[in-house]
């Protein structure tokens, strides 16, 4: 009886490499924990904190150490000017991270805000990568006029600073919504920031993909497919796309992190997620007026953004190393050099 060893496929090899990357795995676990916490936001708000994070309760009260206290306390010293929301109580049932200036539970809003930030970050990254892949593959494979037109369009978008373009688009779309044929996005909808963020980052993904496709276009296997009479669509779908997919996958977590940061920035500037919806950016904006008295309102979402974006970046690096054999080789060579071996 003879035994044959089937070599592991490239995907399996990459997955194994990723699994052995402790930093990437740690980041992935952290990201999953954040996602789970945010998914459980309604559970926390209704079953633990017993609060509605979207309703103003300015005249409300809560219980701290058995005492009933107002959510917004009037200053009782000096001239008695100003009103300060309750700070962190560290009691999950009673305003764990304190209240904002509307008397809303910051912890509950943080979790709900995370849902929107993650939703926008992931959705816009997917949409961006999808659009960028379509454009990059079409432009790189077709060449000629189509490539020129698409490339110049990408150049135009790239020429405008990302945030300036995003703010301009937001101001317009938040006023009138988006109406493109059968596609309608209402003003104030969460899809407005998703679409805007996806569009402004398309050139950043599409251009490297286009370059990769141009290189692939002249490879033997593509030429052979052309010689065999395969249609352009088939070649792009069966031969080109699988070869650029690892690059797209590498981009995905990195773009998610970048898009979350962009969403937070736009929401902070009041041109992203609109009230009563919350995101980490809007919560930071809410906390801006409380920076001196209740910094937790700003610090908590800031930390959440930093942790999540950091985790996605570390995980994204891990994915890149796992999917790019050259990167692995470069990494191994570097290790050998540091260890005194031959590169």
């Amino acid at each position: 009886m003879s035994t044959t060893t089937v070599p592991a496929g490239p995907w399996r090899v990459s997955l194994a490499a990723l699994r052995h990357n402790r930093a990437a795995m740690g980041a992935a676990v952290l990201f999953v924990l954040v996602v789970l916490a945010c998914v459980a936001a309604p559970l926390y708000a209704h079953q633990v904190a017993h609060t509605d994070p979207f309703r103003s309760t300015i005249s409300g009260t809560t219980t701290v150490d058995g005492r009933t206290v107002p959510l917004l306390a009037q200053s009782s010293t000096g001239l008695g000017l100003g009103v300060t929301p309750i700070g962190p109580t560290w009691d999950p049932g009673h305003y764990f991270l304190g209240a904002d200036n509307q008397g809303r539970d910051v912890m509950a809003r943080l979790l709900y805000g995370g849902r929107n930030s993650l939703l926008i970050g992931v959705s816009s990254a997917l949409l961006c990568c999808l659009l960028a892949t379509l454009i990059g593959v079409a432009a790189g494979y077709a060449g000629g006029i189509l490539d020129s037109v698409l490339s110049r369009l990408l150049d135009v978008v790239w020429a405008v600073p990302v945030y300036l373009l995003a703010i301009c688009l937001s101001v317009v779309l938040l006023t009138s919504g988006l109406h493109l044929g059968p596609v309608t996005v209402e003003a104030g909808s969460l899809w407005v920031p998703v679409v805007i963020i996806a569009v402004v980052y398309v050139p950043y993904v599409a251009r490297p993909l286009r370059g990769q496709v141009i290189a692939l276009r002249h490879r033997e296997f593509i030429q052979a497919a052309i010689g065999l009479g395969a249609s352009d669509l088939r070649i792009m779908r069966r031969d080109v796309l699988p070869n650029v997919l690892p690059t797209v996958i590498v981009f995905l977590p990195l773009m998610t992190a970048l898009n979350m940061l962009t969403e937070s920035a736009l929401s902070f500037l009041s041109v992203g997620v609109q009230p009563p919806d919350a995101s980490w950016g809007t919560i930071i904006n809410d906390g801006l007026g409380l920076l001196y008295t209740r910094p937790a309102v700003t610090i908590a979402p800031g930390l959440a953004i930093a942790l999540t974006a950091g985790a996605l970046n570390v995980f994204g690096d891990g994915v890149r190393e796992a999917l790019d054999p050259a990167a692995r080789l470069r990494g191994a060579a570097a290790v050998r050099v540091r260890a005194g071996g031959t590169p």
Partner: protein, 572 residues
């Protein structure tokens, strides 16, 4: 008048009510405060304190420098030391600041011809900052210029001058040949009105009636300063950087009541810092005063660590919601009343900074204002003062009106306080059965945006501060048919409320004011209640003003009409 961007202006009338307002004044009375006992008497000019540079801070500039066009408190406050009219509000501390005194005119005029004619004699030796003499021809030209530059109050304050109708119709060729008549030889100016106007003396004492050289441009002067008659003049103005005032070399004090000598040699108003940074600068002694309302999170610190530098004064003003009576759902009276029942005034007072900075109100006329009557038709359990909202009743009214589930856009300014109130309103409207959307707009455009009916604003948050002390400046200006101009950016009747019955009562009150101010004020009180029964607006609170000064500043004086007297501050 609107204060830019948060506060605005005011008015008052009967002396009894004014005395009551004086009793309510709560200026903190720190060592640097001029003590005048509220009667306006001062201890005279103290030359030892003359000199130095007073540095003021504002987040942004107040727009055009033209005193006949600008309608912001930010510059009206500075105009007090720069421009003069025939009459002026007395520039003193306290209640006496509502008193009208002769300024460029020698004396207060006696109305003749049944209250339709006023004759003024100009003081001798008056000069503009250019050195040119002030003549009756300048006065005539200045009144015509009010119409030529389409002053914001041309159609409301000065439309009673003979010939004003034609000027309003064709501003470019305005001639008041029969309305404002100058006699160069006698040094007099005669103003003829089409009908008696008991408030006309007030209207002559505001900056829009400033006297300017007759060769002033017939268009908005913009950033180019016009010659002044007062103690100071503009030396430079860059709306992105600073406004600098220096002493007018041709000024000689003619009346300490109307235009007193100032103390600082130079007054600089610098623009561009955030309000947080402005407060820090004053705390550190790098600047002397902050124009903008202080941020909520700094109030506690200011009221404790810097209490001696803080002055809090009640204003004759109110913050209110406008409910568009011509658009669903608020074209339904029950729906409008529902909002009045639902709004928690105490909560909004908290958002403004707490009960020491604002007081809940139920009426259009602020407390202690002429015509004000204590009444509160929309408070839980009834009573004459507001105690609590009645959400259940509001929900019931929304259901009764058949408007439940409709969309309501809430238009507010995008600063911290306004946006917070907007978020509260959005939450509240959702709670009582509407689908509310918040539309925060830049303070620069929100006030004109909400006035234009083409923008279909259903509910807006705004504020009104008196121009001069009379009830008509609130009720007639804000809620009469004459103030409603569909399609215009200058339709100050934002609710679009036009009730023929109420309008007739307004005319009666205005007529009554020519013979008996007390009876007129009583009538204004009744009109206030009649309007509130129809609920086109939701009065929420009357604010107080916080002035935060640096440690070195002395001689703080608060005019109830134009607020802190900037040029009377000592920096030496």
């Amino acid at each position: 008048m609107r204060r830019n961007p948060i506060r605005s202006t005011t008015l008052v009338a009967a002396s009894a009510a004014l005395a009551l307002a004086a009793a309510c004044s709560s200026s903190s009375g720190t060592p640097g405060t001029r003590s005048s006992g509220g009667n306006g008497t001062t201890s005279g000019y103290q030359a030892a304190h003359q000199g130095g540079t007073l540095t003021l801070l504002a987040k942004s500039a107040g727009g055009t420098l033209d005193p006949q066009v600008n309608y912001t408190l930010q510059y009206w406050q500075l105009y007090q030391a720069m421009y003069d009219g025939l009459l002026a509000f007395k520039k003193v501390n306290g209640q006496a600041s509502f008193t009208v005194v002769p300024d460029l005119a020698q004396a207060l005029p006696q109305a003749s011809n049944g209250g339709k004619t006023y004759v003024f004699t100009l003081r001798q030796g008056l000069k503009f900052s250019t050195g040119a003499p002030v003549t009756p021809a300048d006065v005539v030209a200045s009144f015509e210029r009010i119409f030529k530059v389409s002053s914001p109050t041309a159609g409301t304050f000065y439309n009673g001058i003979v010939g004003a109708d034609a000027c309003l119709a064709k501003p470019g060729t305005c001639s008041l040949a029969k309305g404002v008549v100058g006699d160069a030889a006698a040094g007099t100016v005669t103003i003829n009105l089409t009908a008696p106007d008991s408030e006309f003396v007030y209207k002559l004492a505001v900056p829009h009636a400033s006297i300017l050289p007759k060769d002033s441009p017939a268009t908005d002067a913009g950033t180019k300063p016009l010659p002044t008659t007062g103690a100071y003049m503009v030396s430079s103005y860059d709306p992105n950087r600073a406004l600098k005032l220096v002493r007018n070399p041709n000024f000689t004090q003619w009346s300490a009541d109307a235009q007193p000598r100032g103390y600082p040699d130079e007054i600089d108003e610098n623009f561009g810092l955030s309000v947080e940074a402005e407060v820090t600068a004053v705390e550190n002694g790098q600047a002397d005063w902050v124009f903008d309302p202080p941020p909520a999170d700094r109030l506690g610190e200011m009221g404790t660590r810097y209490a001696n530098q803080v002055h809090v004064n009640p204003l004759t003003a109110f913050w209110y919601l406008t409910l568009n009576t011509n658009l669903a759902p608020f074209n339904n009276e029950a729906a409008r009343q529902a909002v009045n029942w639902a709004v928690d005034r105490a909560a909004l007072v908290r958002l403004y900074g707490g009960p020491n900075l604002a007081q809940p109100v139920c009426t259009i006329l602020p407390p202690a204002f002429p015509g004000h009557v204590d009444s509160c038709p929309y408070t839980k359990g009834g009573g004459t003062t507001w105690t609590a909202p009645d959400i259940d009743k509001a929900k019931q009214l929304v259901q009764q009106s058949g408007t439940a589930g409709q969309e309501v856009g809430v238009v507010v300014q995008d600063d911290e306080v306004n946006k917070s109130i907007g978020e509260y309103l959005q939450s509240l409207l959702t709670q009582i059965g509407y689908k509310a959307k918040l539309k925060p707009l830049s303070a620069n455009i929100q006030f004109t945006y909400i006035q234009n009916t083409n923008n279909k604003v259903q509910l807006a948050l705004t504020s009104w501060y008196q121009d001069y002390p009379a009830a008509s400046d609130f009720i007639n200006v804000l809620l009469s048919c004459a103030s409603y101009h569909p399609g215009s950016d200058s339709s100050i009747n934002i609710a679009g409320f036009c009730d023929k019955g109420v309008d007739a009562q307004i005319q009666q009150a205005l007529t009554l004011g020519q013979t008996s101010q007390a009876q007129a004020d009583a009538r204004w009180g009744q009109i206030d209640q009649a309007i509130m029964a129809k609920s086109p607006v939701v009065p929420i609170f009357t604010p107080k003003l916080v002035d935060f000064l640096s440690k070195r500043v002395g001689d703080y004086q608060f005019s109830k009409q134009f607020y802190m007297l900037v040029d009377q501050l000592w920096v030496k």
